[in-house]
Amino acid sequence: MRALCWHGKKDVRVENVPDPEILNPRDAIIRVTSTAICGSDLHLYDGVIPTLASGDILGHEFMGEVVDVGPGVPSLAIGDRVVVPFTIACGACEPCRRGLTSLCDNSNPNAWLPEKLYGHSASGLFGYSHMYGGYAGGQAEYARVPFADVGPFKVPPSLSDDQVLFLSDILPTGFMAAENCSIERGHVVAVWGAGPVGLFAMKSAMLLGAERVIAIDRVPERLALAEDACGAETINFDEANVLDELRTRTGGRGPDACIDAVGLEAHSAGSFGARYDAVKMRFRLATDRLEALRQAILACGKGGTVSVPGVYGGYLDKVPLGAAFAKGLTLKLGQTHVHRYLPRLLTLIEEGALDPSFVITHIVPLRQAPDAYRMFLDKADGCVKVVLRP
């Protein structure tokens, strides 16, 4: 089959690779009909996530048709149309039973590695480095899905691929980020990053009852989407001092909740902290650029919540934890428990309350994926979200 393989920093290629096979009783094989490039795939593309190996197949947002199932998957049949959560979960361990499926104890065959780095291992992920299990990803014609009796969710034929594909990751991720904000009537929520996850977080914050949402970015078409599709106000961080602006727009209180939908490769306009991070990262003295997180903590109003769907990987420098402490903030972090949110969001899409396809700007065949990565990284041609059709 054809698949997109990683070969080093900014080097991805579509190659012929062996077809996936059923390796365990609870496996299924999916013929991928649609798959997307995630903002977090750009971290892999930039080579800032460790333990990726040359030849790894990327992609963790995918859906398709079941073409083979193991004997331990009574819930699926050949021909079923499914969307696949990017977090692999067994459904039986204590975290899974509590609904915390991205913290599954049993899906990472390389659990010893994150255990050494982080103390404990989270779940395995598709196409996201050997530290997360080394699973082949979904930017391919076929993909093997472990624990297929727990993972893939069937989707109705009335909905198009473009409407349900993002249930695999970014829609639940944006939603969980907003839910983590404990939004109440009258709340103001600020969102750093108007990429797809940020946009879904804004949309979700509105659905969950926020009075106002303020988007922070510098890419004009993304800010326009935040305004038009999500009903957000916007701040262009190239043109304004974000902290002053947020204070002014909230009567001096600061937002009730701040969402960092940027993560470890933040860009920022010339602040001291941003330059400091860039220099340290260049010389491999730092693992993360965290200007968005710093601003979110400093901007957040007293007793508020900072919710972090953006990915961080290492030991962070100059985190204003003193500010978080002084203001009694709540920090909510972590990979998305996709299985927990997916059915509810699917219902919203079926009812017409939500149509996540508004973020799609480009649909290209799989063979053009290397160009699409480049375009997405450069945010060229108004690129917000790329869908690949294998």
Binding site: G55, C90, P109, W112, Y135
Partner: protein, 238 residues
Amino acid sequence: MTRNLADWERLLSIGLGTALVAGAIARRRALGPAALAGAALVLRGASGTCPAYSAAGVSSRETGRLAVASSERHRRIVSTVTINRPARDVFMFWRTLENLPAIFNGLDGVERIDDRYTRWSWYGPGGVRFEWTAEMTEASNRLSWRSLPGADLDTSGTVRFVDLARGGCEVTVTMDYNQPGGPAASAALWMMGRTPHGEIREDLRRLKHVLETGELPVGGHPSGKRTATFRALQTVAS
């Protein structure tokens, strides 16, 4: 670190160190390499502890000459895992010895000789084969074993299975053993990333995987073209 130098070696160390420092001062090189080495020797003698001996697992204190330290011969490992199943289920799984080769890396076979004795064969790192007969005893929530004299691997230990109020159980292995091959083998295992402690931890993780999900997770397939280094590392790991 515990003391690992005999008295004669402490005096020798202090004497040699003092001479080196004195010589360096006489040559007006009080901060040169000779002076620093001398100071380290004085410190080594005065404290009675040699870090290099400690790392190599040897001592001159116990017998008066350089020998493997007793703390290196007898080792104890304690490792524990939480499994989301009742203790009784895990206990029954473990005492069904045919289940164990799928869980314990390198375990080739376990044979029940009679109610008390079992015969074990195990391939250690590097493909070295060990065989031993063990006496097994069990109580309601624990299993114990002790190898008989003449075993390739001198080992004894206990596995405890304890139910938790939150659901599931804790399984704790306490194992005593003599490291075959002594400190040299310990060091080699450490270099290979296969310490006994790490191995037991992974064994317990496999036990958890199988009891909670019925299978062991596998990743890494398929893939595009791998580098020679990656393939070599995979070969070493398997």
